[in-house]
Symmetry: C2
Subunit: 203 residues, 2 copies
DNA sequence: CCTACCGATCGGTAGG
DNA sequence: CCTACCGATCGGTAGG
């Protein structure tokens, strides 16, 4: 019980630090000092740095999934537009501060092999696949005006999302997130001028 | 003279390692062993790790600029399409292996301040600005069929380029580079079916 | 979950 | 450009 809470606190700090500085920069000693426990006490929860990294990736993915991915759940709009808006909101609210945790880490670990790299590569593919599935549904439901190639459209949409967050983090200015909303609108064939529908959904 | 050559060899290795593993992972000791000299001998060329990082960023930018950016130079096609194709070719040939050196590093260093972060943030803006300038020229020359918003179009094109390289590096499969060519064609309003013109320019 | 420790490596310095 | 060294930190272990 108590160990579970400690582990959760450690992983919370690990996700935060890993998002800000990269998964490779996580150190056991640094993490131990931020959660105010001994290095070896923290170490005992994981057994190796690799296990700590793996648990951090898993935890980050759970947070992302809960916030963004449209599992059939009560109160979650399954449309493509809603998925993309949840994603942008996830960036804007800095739920995982720093760059897009998964893409940055996946690139950092590419070429190294091992379970951490596998988990990161899978997360990247799952992100693209989630968009592609929503594009297919949108094609069939008539949400998209013209039939779009699901794979290519998903890649383009994913690119806009990820780069919007990168530029957002580097500039420290949320304006680029609205640029992304406009670019998404154009990719989806939305006519010029209907921009407000996506930019200010609650207005 | 000799010192210049040594410095060039060091920076060549630094750009290579920094591209593969991230600028933050560069260590003076590790770099010294790959160029087969003593740690302090290498250190003497730079005076601090920060100066080494800064010199590495500068060197990487010179390589990128030489390969991609359309300075008015003999034999360089100034069109938007040629710029984008040089960029994709730059990724495909792994001139800087690993992720898009500048974007990954800029995100990694975002929030830290200092000259390295400044240089990286500037490189990111210069990349987007280079695309935007080419879009403006293309608008005026008639290369683009309809007048496109230069800023928004540049952001979308930059997103496709950067993400194409990320996915390329993670998958280890160049197929996504052709997906990027298709996505770029659609963004530029190229009609379906003219894809081959960009995919296989030398066929 | 702790103290106490291991060998290796970190950025950096002294002195030549 | 080198040897020799500094204090700090790395991942990890022993033993409790």
């Amino acid at each position: 019980m108590r160990a579970e809470r400690t582990r959760a606190a450690i992983l919370g700090a690990a996700v935060h630090l890993g998002s800000l500085r990269g998964l490779g920069e996580l150190s056991i000693g640094g993490l131990a000092s931020t959660v105010e426990m001994s290095k070896s006490g923290l170490f005992a929860h994981f057994g190796s740095k690799e296990e700590l990294q793996l648990a951090t990736v898993t935890q980050a993915w759970h947070i992302f999934e809960e916030e963004v991915v449209p599992f059939p759940r009560e109160g979650i709009d399954p449309s493509l537009e809603a998925l993309l808006e949840r994603w942008l909101s996830f960036f804007e609210r800095k739920v995982l501060p720093g760059g897009c945790f998964f893409v940055i880490a996946a690139v950092e670990f590419a070429g190294l092999d091992g379970p951490v790299n596998d988990a990161l590569a899978r997360a990247l593919e799952d992100q693209i696949a989630a968009i592609e599935a929503a594009v297919r549904v949108a094609n069939e439901s008539g949400e998209l005006p013209a039939g779009k190639d699901p794979s290519g459209t998903a890649f383009a949409l994913h690119s806009i999302l990820v780069n919007a967050n990168s530029v957002f983090v580097v500039r420290g200015d949320r304006g680029v997130l609205d640029d992304a909303r406009v670019a998404i609108g154009e990719l989806l064939g939305r006519p010029q001028g209907s921009r407000e529908a996506l930019v200010a959904p609650h207005a």
